[in-house]
């Protein structure tokens, strides 16, 4: 099994290198939003001293840490996998004795991450120089404590998106669905503001949903902003949603493959 993963990694890594020019553009897409949010909230925080106890530096460190967390926990399943279902190229992968999503697609995602890291690092360094954040609250213990949260976050995110990608077995409108899937991210993941600045009701719902596990939870964990109780709750949610995501994916995959009509093949 390990050999299969190694091979898949080599293939996907080489494949990703073909698209290195696209990557620069892709990363640009990625960093503009955090920069905008940093500008908005530092402008407000420095005009008023602080926003609900958060200083300008709190906002800068929040968005800059999230940039890294997001890079680690995000996934590109739908772009690759839904296409494969729609144009029928999945057929070739289905006859192999390994699971297409859990081997090929997974390795493709990780290879993509590996390559984007090369671009993100210099960009992040430039942002560091420009915004001069103070990361004093980050300790080694916090970082170690965040590692499992990042891995779990990526796994849950990957499995949930893979479930949604499976909907492409039934409908061709999976892209619209994916755009809709972006809405709970905007509301509940903490990508716009730290959750405590959201309306109370949204904050209360968000802690029970998976979306904050991909962004808000690991970010605040690294920055040492969470109480022990909150850390426990976060990890409990991680495990809970991991189980839910695995069940959902297993179900959608089994039903979906039966539905698969191998278009174009």
């Amino acid at each position: 099994m390990l050999r299969i993963y190694r091979r898949m990694w080599q293939v996907n890594w080489a494949e990703q290198w073909q698209y290195r020019a696209n990557l620069v553009m892709y990363i640009l897409y990625w960093i503009v939003q955090p920069i905008i949010y940093i500008a908005v909230w530092t402008s407000i925080a420095s005009a008023r001293g602080s926003v609900s106890g958060l200083t300008a530096n709190d906002f800068i460190t929040y968005y800059m840490t999230m940039l890294i967390v997001d890079q680690l926990t995000s996934e590109v399943v739908i772009y690759i996998f839904a296409y494969k279902i729609q144009d029928g190229t999945l057929s070739g992968e289905l006859i192999r004795p390994v699971h297409p999503i859990l081997t090929n697609t997974l390795m493709n995602n990780i290879a993509f991450k590996g390559l984007t890291t090369f671009v993100l690092l210099p960009v992040w360094t430039v942002l560091f120089v420009l915004f001069q954040p103070n990361f004093a609250s980050v300790t080694t213990a916090n970082i170690l404590l965040t590692v499992p949260a990042v891995i779990l976050g990526f796994t849950v995110n990957f499995m949930l998106s893979a479930t949604i990608a499976c909907i492409a077995f039934w409908t061709t409108r999976v892209w619209a669905l994916y755009r809709l899937y972006g809405v709970p991210f905007a509301l509940f993941s903490g990508q716009f503001v730290p959750l405590q600045l959201m309306p109370k009701i949204i904050e209360d719902i968000a802690i029970y949903l998976p979306f904050q596990l991909f962004k808000y939870f690991p970010t605040q964990l690294i920055l040492g902003k969470l109480s022990n109780e909150e850390i426990w709750r976060g990890y409990t949610m991680d495990i809970f949603w991991l189980i839910i995501a695995l069940i959902l994916f297993r179900w959608a995959w089994r039903k979906g493959v039966k539905q698969y009509s191998a278009v174009g093949a």
Binding site: V32, Q33, I44, R48, R173, A176
Partner: protein
């Protein structure tokens, strides 16, 4: 007159094409409305924590959102579909047919695809602008409204010129499918007044990828913050950019050597 007739024909053809995808259009409209709801909520969240953002109030940000929606409509209805069309045409060589026609090629490349139903977004944009102005409670003179309209058009003109230059680059570096990503990526900066951005970003969105010229600047005109020299400069920039863009296009098209055959 000739060009107007051609645009009317393009509209008709594209309307017929989009009628085949009615349910897709309905879903897209619904999604747009949901996202608009989120945009408004995000403004509300910002102003539950502050009273001004770089001197702008809630009403002004809603006006700005309306203007940005107009710019986005312009892009979604015209620029993105034609970019896709153009990139395919360069890749498979079908641009030949465009060039052979007895009409200005830049014109054809700009108008051959129109996502007709997107035009409905303009109504929402106008509602947002009106509501925003009322909320801000500012006294807008007819003169301010006139400069606002003029500067919005000229801002869109600058973005259009930039787009022409970006896609014309394809003639130099054949494999350049990402030609407009930078425009898409920076469009988000239009949500907030450019004045709050750090100097380097403000510089980029004003002078290089000029999103601010079509968003922040017109709203500033509406608030009466611009003097005559500034207004005339922006109008001048708009005219110059169209001239430059059409020259770049002319040079680029000479390099085009067709694909395949």
């Amino acid at each position: 007159m000739h060009f107007l007739r051609l645009i009317a024909t393009f509209l008709k053809v594209n309307l017929q094409m989009s009628l085949a995808y009615r349910s897709e259009a309905m879903i897209e409209i619904l999604l747009d409305l949901i996202w608009l709801g989120w945009e408004l909520l995000s403004i509300k969240i910002i102003f539950s924590n502050t009273t001004t953002l770089g001197g702008w109030g809630q009403g002004e940000l809603i006006t700005l959102l309306g203007v940005l929606l107009m710019v986005n409509t312009f892009m979604a209805a015209l620029i993105w579909p034609n970019t896709e069309n153009f990139n395919t045409a360069v890749r498979d060589g079908s641009l030949d047919y465009t060039l052979l026609q007895p009409v200005n090629s830049m014109f054809l490349v700009t108008f051959s695809r129109i996502t007709v139903w997107r035009i409905g977004d303009l109504i929402i944009a106008i509602i947002l602008i009106t509501v925003g102005i009322n909320m801000a409670g500012e006294v807008t003179t007819p003169l301010n409204v006139l400069t606002f309209v003029l500067l919005t058009i000229s801002g869109a003109n600058v973005i259009y010129s930039l787009w022409i230059v970006l896609i014309a680059f394809t003639f130099w570096f054949t494999k350049f499918d990402n030609n407009v990503t930078i425009l898409q990526a920076l469009a988000d900066t239009g949500h907030y007044p450019a004045t709050i951005y750090p100097f380097w970003l403000r510089f980029i969105v004003t002078f290089i990828i000029s999103i601010a010229l079509a968003t922040t600047i017109p709203v500033q005109a509406l608030r009466g913050e611009l003097n005559w020299v500034q207004i005339l400069t922006f109008l001048g920039v708009s005219i110059v950019s169209v001239v430059v863009a059409s020259q770049v296009w002319r040079f680029g098209i000479k390099l085009y050597s067709s694909a395949s055959s």
